[in-house]
Symmetry: C2
DNA sequence: CAGATTATGTCAGTCACTGACATTCGGCAA
DNA sequence: TTGCCGAATGTCAGTGACTGACATAATCTG
């Protein structure tokens, strides 16, 4: 079902070490579909690429395509989904001493850096994920699907944060609020990336993310025109972190 | 073209005050389509309602439906879109003395309250918008479309904030960050609403939104655990917020 | 090797959405 | 009123995403 990608850090219930021929072939066609779709999308655009084209490029039937991916969006977002899953994994392993916000921030930075170092090019590489991000922004249905994915991830983050801090997310709103804020800051950074392409490569993206996080405090506190003014009523009067 | 709703605060180039029969009929069929779609969606679900059904319920051709709405999602989100537009209008009129965050917060509260008072029931009412919100959450493509709309609104908010504070949003990241944070807090409140339906009506929603905003500071600042507490307890009742 | 699983192909069908063209209707001036 | 123009609508045909049903072929298991 959710046999997305066999990361080296696989779950312990893998049992059989050799996946068997059947599993291997499945993974193989899946990868081929992602690869072919990716090339076609970047070459001729998302909307102008039909599922039939992708399927016949890998020499499978259209029906088979839809057995691997629920819809056309999914194959486009497969690479990004992988990265997001790795982020979740990173978050799980953050030390308990860290502040929730610190843990989140450290996790994305680590995720981007690791994936950037792992595979600089080829299918499923970070650079292709970055290319994808630009494509997503101007393919309406793709953007929509991506945003939906992101909010699903947010739910997971809420659960992890609540568990980590020993809170009931129904009682305490902080996990939900922080997860939402975190997600939106990330999205703002992504948007900024697609707008002006100055910072190249994964490291550029990391820098961009850090810059956005640094603005979190200043953006929420007081007036902007006169920095250091008295904090307004009803606003979080805390100073920016770090 | 973008003849969504004839608000009393119309643009000055309205010229003729009487819209003319043609315009009136157009608005009429548009309303009828929204109304019919709304009833069908709530009655038998979004996915199980076809565009043909909606069209023939209003006695127009399917083609005409698609001349009013770009897709099936749009007619479902029409009511919410109206509310969002009103929020933007409110934001425009906030006094300059307010902090950006204050202005945003005051605007949604005002928007919800005004719309709640204006029309308590009937087509385009707030209560139906609230009903819609629940429907949105479990119709994947609808949720996706809604999220896309929200991010478009966010862009507008960025522009307004930057203009209001006299900043260049490409230089200063604060407008983008705050807009993103604001949007996500709202979304968290919406999710919370759909989860447990305790607070009834528009006022309940306003309360919920306020509660979430109040958690913005606490969520971002420092550790959540009270000194001496260990994670994994999972018990509420400690560190009660607000 | 036989039989149970499982992936895949084929086919038919639904539904969202679009372009092209004909028709009808409201606005407006002679 | 008449008659014309443009806008709104209807009709039709077509594309493309996606699904259910069933048959076939490939793996796995004993």
């Amino acid at each position: 079902m959710a046999a997305r990608t066999p990361r080296p850090t696989g779950t312990p219930e893998d049992l059989g070490r050799t996946p068997g021929l059947r599993e291997r072939k499945k993974q193989q066609t899946r990868d081929a579909l992602v690869q072919a779709a990716h090339e076609l999308f970047l070459g001729q655009g998302f909307a102008r690429t039909t599922v039939d084209e992708i399927a016949s490029a890998v020499d499978v039937s259209q029906r088979t395509f839809f057995r691997y991916f629920a819809n056309k969006d999914e194959v486009a977002l497969a690479v990004m989904a992988e990265a997001e899953d790795y982020f979740i994994e990173c978050l799980h392993h953050r030390p308990a001493e860290e502040t929730p916000l610190q843990a989140l921030r450290a996790s994305i930075v680590k995720a981007w850096r690791d994936l950037g170092n792992a595979r600089a090019s080829g299918p499923g590489s970070i650079t292709s994920a970055l290319e994808l991000m630009r494509m997503i922004e101007d393919a309406p249905t793709l953007l929509a699907a991506h945003l939906r994915r992101v909010t699903e991830q947010e739910r997971i983050v809420v659960r992890i944060l609540a568990e980590r801090e020993g809170l009931d997310p129904r009682e305490d709103l902080r996990p939900a609020v922080l997860a939402a804020v975190f997600g939106s800051v990330l999205r703002a950074a992504h948007l900024s990336w697609t707008a002006d392409r100055e910072p190249e490569g994964p490291e550029g993206m990391i820098t961009l993310i850090e810059r956005h996080f640094d603005q979190l405090g200043p953006a929420l506190t007081g007036h902007w025109r006169t920095p250091g003014q008295h904090p307004g009523a009803g606003t979080p009067g805390d100073t920016p972190p770090s």
